[in-house]
Amino acid sequence: MPNSIFKYDSEITPQMVKVMLDGREISLPAEMSVAAGLLGQGEIISRISPSSKRACSPHCLMGVCYECIMEINGINRQACMTKVEEGMVINRHIDGSDFNGKYESTEKTEANVNYEMPKPLKEGEPS
């Protein structure tokens, strides 16, 4: 695990809220972005790049680089532009599970089956 590269100013005692990070409960400071909150906790890895399969950390922290995309409450979002909220579910998929897990649930629901096998087009429908 990489070293923690950020720490809080000693005078700041942020109010903490509970969130789920990769399936475990942790505390993050409220009133700041998810990316900043995680960096402050020593969690510098934001995701595994879907193209290079290597670990990334947030780069610009102003919404330009998209390196901090995480699955937050079920949607892939830029963590640097999303505020921490109590009970948030954050998945970074850094354990090697596939990143495009947005609509995947462990159960095979009807939607999932349809997703894997698209229905053939009916006649007359535009292709």
């Binding site: 402050g40 780069h59 610009c60 680089c65």
Partner: protein, 474 residues
């Protein structure tokens, strides 16, 4: 039904806030859309909740934002945070997404004040965890009170790099080294604007005191550095660079890169605004008149998004744009506009005196960037410099051709991080100026939006909006 307002302002930095305030104070119906959770843009980030300590640390450059924010809050402009504009049309229609809901909005005029971003310059290893923009660290300090720990190295060129170093010194962060890529011999073009810069002694003193505090802190400040390289396996471990004839290696946990700032111009390109190439600074910006009007009558550009000249200037330019917009809407006459603009233009000139000098000293030079074949250019799609060079050798002469051949610029950042360097690399291959290779096409949505959000949108009319996605929805 989509909402119709007098003016939509995109962005809530110094330009956006000043423009909004000026217009709302005149009684106009103004909506200010900001993709950030808090107003202030990058320079005044988190200004409304800033601690006294933070205000003191960043000094007047930052605390002056308090007044701007306060004026904006009182002005009556409608502020919508966490709202990303993902499409702008030349007729003043925008589509935006906020809180997992997208909608359409119309305005007589749209003022785009999207500000600037750090110029992304790929170096070997810049995708390693632990390599960040210097602006990113600045943002973290303003927003969260976080400061770097461990071995910190700053690398790049520009006044903001030195400013960031002095801020870190004030916060007692130990800086292992500053690797300054600014060439040792200033350009000849820095000589003519020098006398004008001397008229702003306050400005020059600020620069001198920055250099002094770096020197007093005993930080190794290497100048004329080349070939910066981030090294590590799973994360950053050290930084290597060539300094004269010797190669230096510095152990590092955090590498902060900064190579100047360029306008954040994606939205203008998507709307189809005519873009102009600023040859000395090597960036594209929307072509505008003195009030910020683009080639579209309803679309205006204000602040650093129109051309980079800093936060103070952005504030004045936001106000100038607002004056012209209010004239267009019949609130003030041309004569009144000119009278109100006079002091603003004077202040703008005063602020701008040192600018050409500083710009000339830190102007990017093509020979400064020696891109290595193995370096990853496009972070999203993992495209290397070599891939681009090969595409050019195979005959590609337009950035969009290279994009199709290599996928550089096709990832989630939509070419924001690779576009400028892509142009530099390809142009160098065929000894042309980067502007001769065109610009990467930018299409809506400007931000990734879930399809279900677009499917749920209520659209007013299906008039030709030249948007495949929206036109074919029904």
């Amino acid at each position: 039904m989509s909402r119709h307002v007098d003016v939509i302002v995109v962005g809530a930095g110094p330009a956006g806030l000043s423009a909004s305030s000026t217009l709302a104070e005149m009684g106009l119906d103004v909506v200010t859309l900001d993709e950030q959770p808090q107003l202030g843009g990058q320079i005044y980030r988190n200004i409304e909740k800033a601690s006294p300590k933070s205000l003191h640390l960043f000094g007047e450059d930052y605390s002056s934002g308090l007044m701007i924010a306060e004026r904006f809050r009182k002005s009556g402009a409608d502020y919508e945070n966490s709202t990303s504009v993902w499409q702008l049309d030349s007729d003043g229609t925008i589509c935006c997404s906020s809180r997992a809901h997208s909608r359409q909005m119309r305005a007589n005029h749209v003022i785009v004040a999207t500000g600037a971003m750090e110029r992304p310059v790929p170096i070997p290893g810049w995708t390693l965890p632990g390599v960040m923009g210097a602006g990113a660290v600045n943002n973290l300090t303003k927003e969260s009170g976080l400061k770097p720990s461990g071995n910190v190295v700053l690398a790049g060129s520009g006044p903001l790099l030195l400013l960031e170093a002095t801020l870190l010194i004030k916060k007692n962060v130990e800086i292992a080294a500053i690797l300054d890529t600014t060439p040792l011999i200033p350009r000849v073009s820095a000589v003519p604007p020098a006398p004008k810069a001397l008229m702003r002694t306050d400005f020059l003193l600020k620069g001198a005191s920055m250099l002094k505090s770096i020197k007093d802190a005993g930080i190794p400040h290497h100048r004329g550095v080349k070939d910066i390289c981030a090294i590590g396996t799973n994360c950053l471990e050290s930084v290597q660079a060539r300094c004269g004839k010797e190669t230096i290696t510095i152990p590092a946990d955090l590498l902060m890169l900064h190579f100047g700032v360029i306008p954040n111009s994606h939205i203008f390109r998507q709307a189809g605004c005519r873009m102009a190439w600023k040859a000395d600074q090597r960036y594209w910006h929307p072509a505008c008149d003195q009030w910020g009007r683009t080639n579209f009558e309803r679309i205006f550009a204000a602040g650093d998004g129109a051309m980079v000249s800093g936060g103070v200037s952005a504030r004045y330019r936001g106000e100038l744009t607002a004056l012209e917009v209010s004239r267009c809407l019949g609130i003030i006459s041309g004569h009144e506009r000119d009278a109100l603009a006079k002091p603003l233009k004077k202040a703008l000139r005063h602020d701008g005196w040192p600018r050409p000098f500083v710009d000339a000293i830190y102007a990017p030079r093509p020979e400064q960037f020696s891109f290595d074949d193995a370096t990853i250019l496009c972070r999203c799609e993992n495209v290397t410099v070599k891939d681009v060079r090969r595409a050019v050798r195979e005959g590609a002469r337009d950035l969009n051709e290279i994009k199709i051949m290599t996928r550089s610029g096709m990832g989630s950042c939509q070419g924001r991080m690779c576009g400028p360097a892509l142009a530099e690399i390809a142009a160098a291959e065929i000894s042309l100026s980067p502007d001769r290779l065109g610009l990467l096409n930018v299409r809506p949505p400007l931000r990734p939006v879930p399809l279900e959000e677009i499917a749920e949108m209520e659209l007013e009319t299906a008039k030709e909006s030249s948007n495949w996605l929206l036109d074919n929805k029904k």
